[in-house]
């Protein structure tokens, strides 16, 4: 919302400087966004006087002028028809930037004659549209005076943010009231005079709403004014509207705009001769249409409040009037509408039609219902002053809604909620200045003014008092400590994510943060379209079609990101993300996962290229994340039944009992192809929330270190097993053969080929035996070896390789 300083001063008698006014606005909650001071913008331009205007030797239309300026006497060549000796002009020196022609002046020769500077027109200084000649300032102006001040365009424009709770500040009047309460001036807001109608209104109005929609337009006031003469509005009004960025149109239209910005009171003025029969405010009907003032046609429906006559819809109540019944230069009889439209319907209609009008903006935030009739009087006065004419009596359909509200307010509430000590007299003074009426019972009864729909309870009054006193006066206090030393704050789930994140970064991966949503075309590669729909994961209004579905896996966004990086030449990369995935739309469906993806093209190196990522790299990633997150990784089992977005033969699931804690493997080539990704890409996803919470131990004591004095010894075994036997099964059998002595088992060779029968493979393990009490005898070692062989045979059918 914009207004000019002089406009404000019509409602606020003050000596305060612009800076003080702006500071006070901010302090009371009217957040100033910009102050534009034309005086500063036009500071280069000063008054000059043409001493002599002689002919140009080479051009009939040009004159060579001697001009008295603040810089002394200057010779300026000028083509304006009105350039003549004796007039006061707007002098632009060499070096000045002339905004209207976007030129910085330099010394020039015009048709061979030197010219030092320029004399400007109104348009060249962006003070208006006039370009018939150079500015002729009043004769009383002195050489060197700033042009802006002399020409009356020294009115700073203040732009501030109107918060939705303060519809009253959509009018300059409301801003002034706040500032007066903050004591930087006196509030001036004359009650509009009541104008007696000379005759009954020939135009009738009616409300025609069903019972359940009576609140759509509870009051509709109108007044006929005959024999008006529409034309341009007076200069002061045009200047104000132009200053705040509105285009003056005609007196009748400008008056409605003025009322909107001066009193936050939107009005409409019909050309009464274009109306047919009674005007009705009613709900719209399907199929009706309106050609609105913006020249566009809108479809009407039954949720909208319309103003209509016998011919059809004339306007959307509170939003925009119609083109056909608007005022023109020829209008001679008008009908002024001043009504109340409820905020909810106005907002809905506005959203449906997409119309963003000043009227909608005000009605949907709530206009002052008590100002319907005074507003009508004020508008009538303006119409009569600017366009003449004779007003009828006011017609009112419905009743002005009563906005009486009383809030019970114990004044010490200010201290309770803000910590500020404000004397009750001070609080009372502030509330009264803002238009509240204070009755000092216990607690106080405070009557809320009709223009403050936002005030509901005592907390609202606390804010009123506190903001006028100033939040700067609030004490600054420290929250009392709850305990001598603070306790850890992370939940186990939060700590898991922290640990997993840092563990994966330690493995050389870059943490990415990607959207929670993704392209449905990619999403369906990881969850079927039916499932996405059934689980409610599809957005109704995505910001872009490629961000339309919530992700059920971290992988697709990471895989896409790998390709984007590869497209930039970075094709050796490991990304991870620790973030939510969505199994559905319920709170329990919000799950935390750690996922990663690797695209690997190892760079050459003089020691030989590094090993490229494969299934076992991402298996290690998954195990590292699980271990960091506190999962008992020694108890994990691997199965080969990963979801179908993985390569069926090169992927696995890490399980704890029946729970699948992680997937890992090569991403299915079909998925990569559909996503336009050049593979192979290896990925993993760890479901952090599924890790069982470790039991809280009574102490932090660790088990005693079991470090034997006796030297461990190792034995190698190579087993021939069926191709389908899982290594994990064999390793488990070896470990289980003699739990006390076997300290470690490592698989060091997998072999198929010569010497191993077709369909079988050889798995070689090194077993570390740790003697406990005494050195092992050969017999004891042989016995352990025999048990290992027997266990492996039992578990896998494998035999010792010959």
């Amino acid at each position: 919302m914009k207004f000019t300083l002089s406009w404000l001063k019509e409602h606020l008698e003050t000596d305060a400087s612009l800076d003080e006014i702006v500071e006070t606005m901010v302090a009371v909650g009217l957040e100033v966004e910009e102050v534009e001071n034309p005086e500063e913008r036009l500071s280069a331009f000063t008054i000059g006087e043409i001493l002599e205007a002689g002919p140009h030797p080479d051009a009939d239309k040009l004159k060579v002028c001697r001009v008295a300026t603040k810089d002394g006497e200057m010779q300026i060549v000028c083509g304006a028809p009105n350039a003549r000796a004796g007039i006061k002009v707007a002098y632009a020196p060499v070096g000045a930037y002339v905004p209207g022609i976007d030129v910085t002046l330099s010394k020039a020769k015009i048709r061979g004659v030197e010219s030092h500077g320029m004399m400007c027109s109104v348009r060249e200084l962006e003070m208006g549209d006039d370009h018939d000649g150079i500015i002729e300032a009043p004769a009383s102006a002195k050489v060197g005076d700033p042009v802006a001040a002399v020409m009356g365009v020294n009115d700073p424009v203040i732009d501030f943010e109107v918060t939705p709770n303060r519809p009253d500040t959509n009018g300059v009047n409301g801003v002034a009231r706040d500032l007066a309460a903050a004591k930087i001036g006196a509030f001036v807001s004359p009650e509009p005079e009541t104008i007696k109608g000379a005759y009954p209104s020939p135009q009738k109005v009616e409300l025609d709403f069903p019972e359940e929609a009576k609140d759509a337009c509870p009051a509709f006031a109108g007044r006929y004014v005959r024999d008006v003469k529409n034309g341009p509005s007076p200069k002061w009004l045009q200047d104000r509207l132009r200053a705040i960025g509105l285009r003056p149109i005609s007196a009748l239209v400008d008056i409605t705009n003025y009322m909107s910005y001066d009193r936050a009171r939107p009005l409409h003025v019909f050309d009464a001769d274009k109306l047919q029969g009674v005007i009705r405010a009613r709900l719209g009907k399907k199929g009706e249409k309106l050609l609105a003032l913006d020249g566009k046609e809108y479809e009407i429906d039954e949720t909208m409040t319309v103003i209509a006559d016998d011919s059809g819809v004339l306007g959307l109540g509170g939003v925009m009037g119609g083109e056909d019944t608007g005022c023109t230069e020829e209008t001679t009889n008008v009908f002024i509408e001043c009504a109340y439209f409820d905020p909810l319907r106005t907002a809905k209609t506005g959203r449906k039609t997409g119309i963003n009008s000043d009227a909608r903006y005000r009605f949907e935030r709530g206009v002052d219902p008590a100002f319907i009739l005074p507003g009508m009087e004020m508008a009538t006065r303006l119409v009569m002053d600017m366009c003449g004419g004779e007003p009828s009596e006011v017609v009112l359909a419905g009743e002005v809604p009563q906005a009486d509200k009383t809030v019970l307010f114990p004044p010490d509430e200010v201290k309770r909620l803000t910590g500020m000590n404000v004397a009750p007299e001070k609080a009372e003074e502030i509330l009264e200045a803002l238009g509240f009426t204070v009755r000092k019972s216990d607690p106080w009864q405070v009557d809320v003014p009709s223009w403050r729909p936002d005030i509901e309870g005592k907390a609202d009054l606390v804010e009123e008092v506190a903001r006028i006193v100033g939040f700067g006066h609030m004490p600054t206090e420290t929250l009392p400590a709850l305990r001598p030393v603070e306790t850890p704050k992370l939940t186990p789930g939060q700590d898991r994510r922290r640990m997993a994140r840092r563990a994966l970064a330690v493995r050389g991966m870059l943490e990415a943060v990607t959207w929670s949503f993704l392209d449905e075309r990619n999403a369906v590669l990881f969850m079927s379209a039916d499932e996405i729909k059934a689980k409610g994961l599809k957005l109704a209004n995505p910001i872009a079609s490629d961000l339309g579905v919530m992700r059920a896996s971290l992988l697709p966004n990471l895989v896409s990101a790998l390709q984007r990086n590869a497209d930039r030449g970075r094709d050796d990369l490991a990304l991870f993300e620790v973030a939510p995935i969505y199994a559905g739309d319920q709170p329990a469906d919000h799950q935390n996962a750690a996922g990663g993806a690797r695209l690997s093209h190892s760079a050459r190196h003089w020691q030989g290229a590094a090993q490229e990522a494969d299934v076992f790299t991402v298996k290690a990633d998954a195990i590292a994340a699980l271990e960091a997150a506190g999962a008992p990784v020694a108890s994990l089992q691997t199965s080969a039944d990963a979801p179908d977005y993985f390569h069926p033969g090169r992927s696995g699931v890490l399980r704890l009992g029946p729970k699948a804690l992680a997937h890992f493997g090569e991403i299915h080539p079909r998925v990569l192809k559909a996503m336009d990704v050049d593979g192979p890409v290896y990925g993993f996803e760890v479901f952090l929330d599924l890790i069982p919470e470790s039991k809280k131990k009574p102490t932090k004591t660790r088990p005693a270190l079991d470090a034997s004095e006796l030297l461990p010894l190792t034995r190698d075994f190579a087993f021939v097993v069926e191709d389908g036997v899982a290594a994990e099964t064999l390793l488990k059998a070896v470990r289980g053969a003699e739990k006390k002595l076997i300290a470690d088992v490592s698989l060091f060779d997998v072999y198929q080929g010569k010497g191993v029968p077709e369909g079988k493979k050889s798995l070689a393990v090194e077993v570390t035996l740790q003697p406990r009490e005494k050195t092992l005898t050969d017999e004891e070692i042989d016995a352990v070896s025999a048990r290992i062989v027997a266990q492996v045979e039992k578990a896998t059918g494998g035999t010792l390789r010959a």
Binding site: E463, A540, N565, Y582
Partner: protein, 358 residues
């Protein structure tokens, strides 16, 4: 010269001439081996008369010892020389580059969230969380957004397809629904911060459809707006790691707080850099206020008994301001160059005792 002296001289000469371990060994065998000259001479002692033996015994034994010592000394010399020679041949160009190791990084959003947690945890705040997909009640109604109020328009919200009963879930537009979940499930005193993802239908240079917020909530029987001011001032000073920062609270409007405020921080722009703690411009960095009585009531708390404050701020924006990251959209692009440049080392865990950042 006796023949023993001659022998010794010859042997020492041979030892001196041996230039390899093998040659030396040959000399040793030829002298001290079973059939070596010295050994052979020693054998003759048995056949000698006692007088002769008395003379020759010490002489031969002395010879044997000196030769053995000389061989040992020569052996050490040869070994040292051989080691020197081997090492000389093993020289590498130590200026060759090491194998590059991929360096993992932590995303600024994670790091800054941890910085924020580090500060508020020291002030006694627990860390709470809630779902990204919310219902209308928790995201709007309970937070005192009346139905169809223009304030809801301020939040251009992502909606899901309506369910059969007409209910539409939303992507939470702020972390505030977690206030509601916490107040409905826990008895005050409550002191929490709520980090998390938030979503709005907005996309330009300074807005992304997804971003991160940290919400704060304190509910008890005493906490007032002065505490809010003190808490946030302490936070800003600690977060930006400055000795002094000027802040300003001014009235604002949020449906879920009353009174409501925004906090501005004084700053100066030097080139592309925003410097807090100096200058005379104000930058809005967060919204806050006293929890609205209707919100307390909606959570079953009596606003005449309980009171407290709430605040909310953008994590991404704080990261941008502190670390001079220019474009919000880059946060979510997963560009390796950006992640490496603006990311943090895995070992760089923010803490108050070691400093929030390096």
């Amino acid at each position: 010269m006796s023949d023993i002296e001659q022998l010794e001289k010859d042997l020492l000469a041979k030892i001196g001439a041996a230039d390899t371990g093998a040659a030396l060994e040959e000399v040793r065998v030829a002298a001290l081996g079973k059939k070596g000259v010295v050994s052979e001479r020693m054998k003759t002692l048995g056949k000698m008369s006692p007088e002769e033996r008395k003379e020759m015994g010490p002489a031969l034994n002395g010879l044997k010892t000196r030769i053995a010592d000389a061989i040992e000394t020569k052996k050490t010399e040869l070994e040292a020389a051989a080691l020197d020679a081997r090492l000389a041949s093993e020289k590498v160009d130590v200026t060759l580059p090491v194998r590059p190791e991929p360096k993992g990084k932590i995303h600024p959003v994670s790091q800054v969230t941890e910085e924020i947690i580090a500060i508020f945890s020291a002030m006694g705040f627990d860390v709470a969380e809630g779902p990204d997909i919310e219902d209308d009640f928790h995201n709007f109604t309970a937070l005192n957004f009346p139905p169809d109020h223009p304030a809801r328009e301020m939040h251009d919200t992502f909606f899901f397809e309506p369910k059969e009963d007409g209910e539409r879930m939303v992507l939470r537009t702020h972390t505030s629904p977690v206030q509601i979940r916490t107040m409905m499930n826990e008895k005050p005193p409550i002191r929490i911060i709520i980090p998390g993802r938030t979503f709005r239908c907005d996309s330009d240079q300074t807005h992304t459809p997804m971003f991160h917020q940290v919400e704060g909530l304190v509910i008890d029987k005493e906490t007032h707006m002065g505490h809010l001011k003190g808490t946030l001032q302490a936070f800003v000073k600690t977060f930006f790691e400055l000795d002094d920062v000027k802040t300003r609270f001014r009235p604002h409007f949020f449906p879920f707080t009353e009174p409501s405020a925004e906090m501005d921080v004084q700053y100066e722009r030097v080139g592309n850099e925003v410097r807090f703690g100096q200058g005379d411009k104000w930058m809005e960095i967060l919204g806050c206020g006293m929890v609205h009585p209707n919100v307390l009531r909606n959570c079953g708390l009596d606003p005449d008994e309980y009171q407290g404050f709430a605040f909310g701020m953008g994590v991404d924006r704080l990261a941008m301001l502190k670390y001079g990251i220019p474009d919000l959209r880059d946060f979510f692009a997963a560009d390796a160059r950006w992640l490496e440049h603006y990311g943090f080392d895995a070992a760089d865990q923010p803490s108050l005792w070691a400093g929030l950042s390096k």
